[in-house]
Amino acid sequence: VTDHLASPSDLERARARAQARRAARRARVTVCGGTGCQAAGCREVAETVRREVARRSLEASVDVVVTGCHGFCEQGPIVVVRPSNVFYPRVTPARVADIVERTVVRGEPVEGLLFRDPVSKKRIAREDDIPFYSRQRRLVFAHNGTIDPESLDDYLAVGGYGALAKALFEMTPEQVIEQVDRSGLRGRGGAGFPTGRKWASCRAAPGPIRYVICNADEGDPGAFMDRSLLEGNPHAVLEGMLIGARAIGSTQGWVYVRHEYPLAVRNLGIALEQARAAGLLGERILGSDLSFDVRVSRGGGAFVCGESTALMASLEGRTGEPRAKYVHTVEHGLWDRPSNLNNVETWANVPLIVERGADFYASIGTQGSKGTKIFSLVGKIHNTGLVEVPMGTTLRDVVFGIGGGIPKKKRFKAVQTGGPSGGCLPEKLLELPVDFDRLTEAGSMMGSGGMIVMDEDTCMVDVARYFVRFLADESCGKCVPCREGLRTVLAVLERITRGRGRADDIDLLEQVGAWMTQASLCALGGSAANPVSSTIRYFRDEYDAHIRDRRCPAGVCKDLVTYGIDPERCNGCGLCVPVCADGLIRGERKKLHTLEAERCVKCGACYAVCNRGAILRG
């Protein structure tokens, strides 16, 4: 329990105590508690680690900590023994005793349980030597896998709230804004607006009350870095908001967080209570003249509420409908008062900038995009998870260098960036340096950092239809171009994927897309044409195959596909027989099987289990 911190020296004393406590321990076993690892059974693993540590009476010298997401979700549940950082992937409770006995007690790695590099086939002991981690630059995520998100002491021990003290006692609000501005930080939520400029406008806006808002309504499908930051290091987000409050002159903050993220809601709530108890929220924080507190609001499951004006409407208890952009939220935001909204990752960057300075931060990245960016690398890729790299890293380095390429020897087809209204980038653009401006030039966008890898089995027309359907569902309906435009585009894409496309459909898609881009009220409609235009631009041949030849080359669009069994390849192993829910596959063992195609619902279950490629789809 941390005492009430009434001054910067109180903070430093508390930090020294926390660090001394940590230094006195001989080891810290961190068990990843991210969503991926939870689904893989990490809770039982953590319990077993605690039991094995207790059985050896080591509780006083060994910390067992369930941390936030380590990022390497593919390998979960992950256990890392620190300070030596020996990394164990896919840990089961049965293996825990060995790890505790040999690595924690005797300080040696358990060779057979170590991560095996899929390329070199060599065992790698240390976390930092695994290519997935060694090719990253983890600044914002630096502490996610090492600290207990429920412990303020842990955050203090790694330097937490030092940047706040600096901003309160060594800098004027103007200097804080100047640092953030000069760092080149741009909003991580999607639009990439310069953060320092936003803060300066909000500070300059007239009115006695200003709000600081954290957008944690991470709605982009395929992105989960904000979730992981809030779950794994909530105090960092809070510290960023406090520094923002100091710079802008705000006394009240809000966090708007998705209700689909119960663990993030919980850990944030714990952090807020701890901060209040320690005097890091409330009146006269650390003895300064800053008074600030934060309220939490849970989102109602509407994608459009990630848009800043819709989010503020939702905070006011209204339906989440955006409004026209010419009225700026920095002047007329929540309850018509000046409001400064940034997303979770942006706030988490702020302590880093104040602590290490604008020059340090600006030395990372490209001309127009500074610092690092967290991407969620998912889809048809080996090493799925969260990766943090400097802005300007090429797509190839991310997808192949860190991600390890495509599984099952399939061919890379595209990587989709920028959320539902982003775009699909083809193989020939793999050398593209990833930053805000390059992605926009290529017809996609940064969005919040989702990177969904697609292989030869992905149909690009189906992908466009998928995004448009998502956007059509989530369009709030307030403005006509978005509401009716998306409906039209969806109808056209659906008929194309059903083999009823018309010769001039592509022209129609492009025309309606241009109208949506020009005339929509908010960014949802304004960027909704991207998934269609980027797939037409780079994968025109797939549209042609659907429209002209009534064929889906990837074998995805059901109406254009039939299933059958290749007599050359089927060896009668029988794997596919039980997975067919309708019992349509029959045959004697070790003899050619048959599939009753007339009643087949094309669920694809047989195709997925056959490891001889004997199920024909086309």
Partner: protein, 160 residues
């Protein structure tokens, strides 16, 4: 949801939030969690206590996906349709669940055991395709896997 127990009565729910319009979405979420849906008389009570028009409560109740005017099943089976799940064939998982339960997206089985819902993304993209049964996410889902999951949840319910 989260660390605290859902409250049981409407008065208890209203007491936990300031009686102002900005509490509306949160209050309705708590009602949804406690009752499984938004009963009409409860919505009217919420309107009166928070001092907002009933039409406004109705507008909000029908805007947000998490809120429902119809009673939901004992189990909520959510199929993630996020992009990462989509490219790993989430559509087939959804169809398998629909076939197994005999209801479509948003439907509730006649015995009120299951409500089936799609969700834009549950943020567990690395382990897709994902199905969330009540509060637990299940990764690397397959067509036979989702049928087994439904079977298992139904069977557990049938035990004395």
């Amino acid at each position: 949801m989260g660390a605290c127990q859902p409250p049981r009565s409407i008065d208890e729910i209203l007491a936990r939030h300031p009686p102002e319009r900005s509490s509306l979405v949160m209050v309705l979420q708590d009602v949804q969690a406690a009752y499984g849906y938004l009963p009409v008389d409860v919505m009217e009570r919420v309107a009166d206590v928070l001092g907002v028009a009933r039409t406004h409560v109705y507008a909000v109740a029908t805007f947000y996906r998490v809120l429902s005017l119809e009673p939901r099943g004992r189990h909520l089976l959510r199929v993630c349709m996020g992009t990462a799940c989509h490219v790993r064939a989430a559509q087939r998982i959804l169809e398998a669940a629909e076939r197994r339960l005999g209801v479509g997206d948003g439907g509730t089985t006649p015995d009120r055991e299951f409500t089936l819902q799609t969700v834009g993304c549950v943020g567990a993209c690395a382990i897709g395709p994902v199905v969330q049964l009540d509060e637990t996410a299940h990764g690397h889902m397959t067509v036979p896997g989702v049928a087994a999951l439904i079977e298992g949840a139904g069977a557990a319910e049938g035990e004395p």
